[in-house]
């Protein structure tokens, strides 16, 4: 009896208990703007609504200025004495260095096309989360100190004084932007909001202010090569465990090549794939997949991170953390690099790596060892996305697939922000999914492909420290998922990003707990028909299959 009671008690989702608000209540958003003009509304910080500041220890590890203990709700943020001068000098310097920044400060015509496109505005209703107004927070300072009209006309020209409250406001809203770039898709000028947020964060960092969820991973990455701080022997211990798990499920005992010199391909994943529940399944799936195709590859315990939280910190930090990719490729003497289902890694690779740490002339233009396909798109970076690589194999009929092995899954696909908006990877994942799964349903057109919503946890926001903000930012994506769950019975949200795998799981546990989250290649590995396979009744998650697998048979018939 006692056990039954206990179970009922836990039916209320955990986050609902913590937040004290039901999904119905949180989804009722008040879009009415405050009565006062926006410049007169000071920022407020309440619990579960902000990220914790960067800890002194991690600030020191990466030589960041003014490390100190402070907290957003505090009145005194212990700013350095000449904070105003530091901030404005930093801004002047960046206006000179980044033409994009200068341009984005100048060209907005406030047409409002972006206003209702941000998931934080949709889910939260705070007007300062309209991208146009988020940018205006910084633009108003730009006008006051860097334009003649602003210097003379002040408020009439949309300019305002730089005050401590402005700094606090910038901190609040720079960390309610996931740099996902959805708004930029709708901007007729193509203003890249992520770049504005990046600069705002850099300026805050000059004053010693950032969030720990970004700075600790950066520090750990600097010390160990990955955001989690996994040491080489730890990764080895994890991977041995996953190899054993794969053997228990499938009967295949595979090699886990680590730091192997002379391998053809270096394989890089987000470190979440070594640890996170869903990421680990993806790793197990990848081990099986690469074993099956006989890939000559290696994992690395030095380049043990695809992600780069430097992107959320500063341009200098992007370069510093990214450098290990080419350095390791050189050391191991591989021909080219294959990258896993990681999110912002691909933004760094496609938009920064080639120029900040390239050219990687010592690597070869990537060629699939199985199909001979030349990945000309990767000529510059020498790095191929695993979805491109797999889609090419399927296209050439190199994989024997039985999609009915995923019949227990009814899938939809979330275009992860960066693979979609930073590299245009729309077709490959869909092509793979349709080949490995019989039940696939798209979410509405307005929120997929380049218009995809962010999970709400990108750019260093993916922690429940700021649970309310996270769930609000996550609402649009979870809501669309709920829609296809109710309409088509969808029970799995597929995506290609480690932050997605973690944050969408958090969000859905609150908004639509019937749907689980996973990677695309998990389903691929489930569907592989492999010579010498054993009969089995579960998938790689140990979830029961609809129909037990009989070796060599596809959908129950002779292959």
């Amino acid at each position: 009896m006692a056990e039954v009671e206990k179970k009922e008690e836990r039916e209320v989702p955990y986050y609902e208990t913590v937040l004290g608000a039901s999904p119905e209540k949180l989804a009722t958003v008040d879009y009415k703007p405050p009565a006062k003009p926006w410049m007169d509304v000071p920022p407020k910080f309440k619990k579960l609504d902000y990220l914790n500041p960067a800890k002194v220890k991690w600030m020191k590890v990466i030589d960041l200025p003014f490390p100190r203990e402070w907290s957003p709700p505090d009145e005194d943020w212990k700013l350095p004495e000449n904070w105003k001068e530091i901030f404005l000098n930093g801004m002047e310097d960046r206006l000179k260095r980044f033409r994009s920044f200068q341009l984005f400060m100048d060209i907005c015509v406030r047409c409002g096309a972006c206003a209702d496109k941000c998931q934080f505005f949709i889910g939260g209703g705070d007007p300062k989360n309209m991208p146009v107004l988020r940018a205006e927070l910084l633009r108003s300072i730009y006008r006051r100190y860097f334009t003649t009209s602003g210097k003379i006309l002040g408020k009439i020209a949309g300019a305002r004084e730089l005050t401590v409250d402005v700094i606090k406001e910038l901190f609040k809203y720079s960390f309610q932007c996931t740099e996902c770039r959805r708004c930029s898709v709708f901007c007729p000028y193509g203003i890249d909001m992520a770049e504005i947020t990046m600069i705002a964060r850099e300026l805050l960092l000059l004053l010693g202010m950032h969030v720990n969820w970004a700075i600790e991973p950066v520090g750990k990455s600097f010390l160990t090569g990955n955001h989690m701080g996994l040491l080489p022997h730890t990764i080895k211990d994890f991977m041995d465990e996953y190899r054993d798990e794969l053997e228990k499920i499938t009967g295949f005992k595979v090699d886990v090549p680590m730091n192997r010199k002379g391998a053809e391909i270096l394989y890089i994943v987000p470190s979440g794939d070594f640890f996170d529940e869903r990421g680990v399944i993806l790793t197990i799936a990848t081990l099986l997949y690469f074993y099956h195709i006989g890939l000559d590859y290696t994992w690395s315990t030095y380049t043990s991170e695809g992600g780069n939280f430097g992107l959320f910190t500063s341009h200098e930090m992007i370069k510093r953390l990214n450098a290990k990719m080419y350095a390791e490729a050189k050391r191991l003497k591989v021909k080219w690099i294959l990258g896993g289902e990681c999110g912002h890694m691909w933004r760094v690779i496609n938009q920064y790596m080639g120029t900040v740490n390239g050219p990687a002339d010592f690597l070869e233009e990537p060629v699939s060892p199985i199909t001979g396909t030349k990945f000309e798109n990767a000529k510059d970076t020498k790095m191929v996305h695993i979805a491109e690589f797999t889609a090419d194999l399927i296209r050439h009929g190199k994989l024997k697939l039985d999609p009915s092995r995923n019949d227990h899954v009814i899938a939809t696909y979330h275009d992860s922000c960066n693979p979609s908006r930073a590299m245009g990877l729309f077709e490959e994942p869909r092509y793979i999914i349709k080949n490995v799964c019989n039940n696939f349903y798209e979410m509405p057109e307005s929120c997929i492909r380049e218009k995809t919503f962010c999970c709400g946890g990108g750019a260093g926001l993916g922690t429940d420290e700021q649970l309310e903000t996270l769930l609000r930012g996550n609402f649009p994506r979870s809501n669309a998922t709920k829609h296809v769950h109710e309409k088509f019975g969808v029970n799995r949200l597929l995506c290609m990003c480690a932050i997605d795998r973690a944050v969408l799981s958090m969000g859905l546990s609150y908004w639509c707990p019937q749907v689980t989250v996973g990677g695309v290649h998990e389903l691929l590995a489930n569907a592989l028909v492999i010579p010498g396979e054993s009969p089995r009744t579960v998938d790689l998650r140990r979830q029961p299959l609809k129909r037990p697998i009989t070796p060599g048979k596809i959908a129950g018939k002779e292959a």
Partner: protein, 111 residues
């Protein structure tokens, strides 16, 4: 840095309720830390907390959920060895909440 009072001494604890010095932790703290999150510890929690501490000493991180599941199955039988069961024990997520009670830092990054 917020301070946490325990047995007449004060310990550094971050805003999220994690002890800052994992070596300052002692067993008596765990039930207190759990109480703050509305969790009452029993044998099953303790099995994992001790396993976490042992693992952390060697590897400087808590083991992933897969290993916790295995440990549970080993100690309490296969029917207890699944992720769902772990979430019942640690509703705030086994990775995070178990670390909190065990006085270990929470995992960071894309997790």
């Amino acid at each position: 840095m917020p301070k946490w009072p325990y047995k007449g001494k004060e310990y550094d604890m971050d805003e999220d309720g994690f002890l800052q010095d994992w070596e300052a932790w002692e067993e008596g703290m765990a039930p207190e830390l759990a109480k703050m999150e509305g969790v009452e510890l029993d044998d099953r929690h303790w099995e994992l907390i001790r396993y976490l501490r042992d693992y952390y000493i060697k590897y400087q991180i808590a083991p992933p959920i897969k290993m916790l599941v295995k440990e549970m199955a080993k100690a309490f039988g296969p029917e207890k060895g699944n992720t769902k069961y772990l979430y019942q024990l640690f509703p705030g997520g086994p990775a995070k909440q178990a670390c909190k009670f065990a006085g270990l830092p929470k995992p960071t990054g894309c997790v």
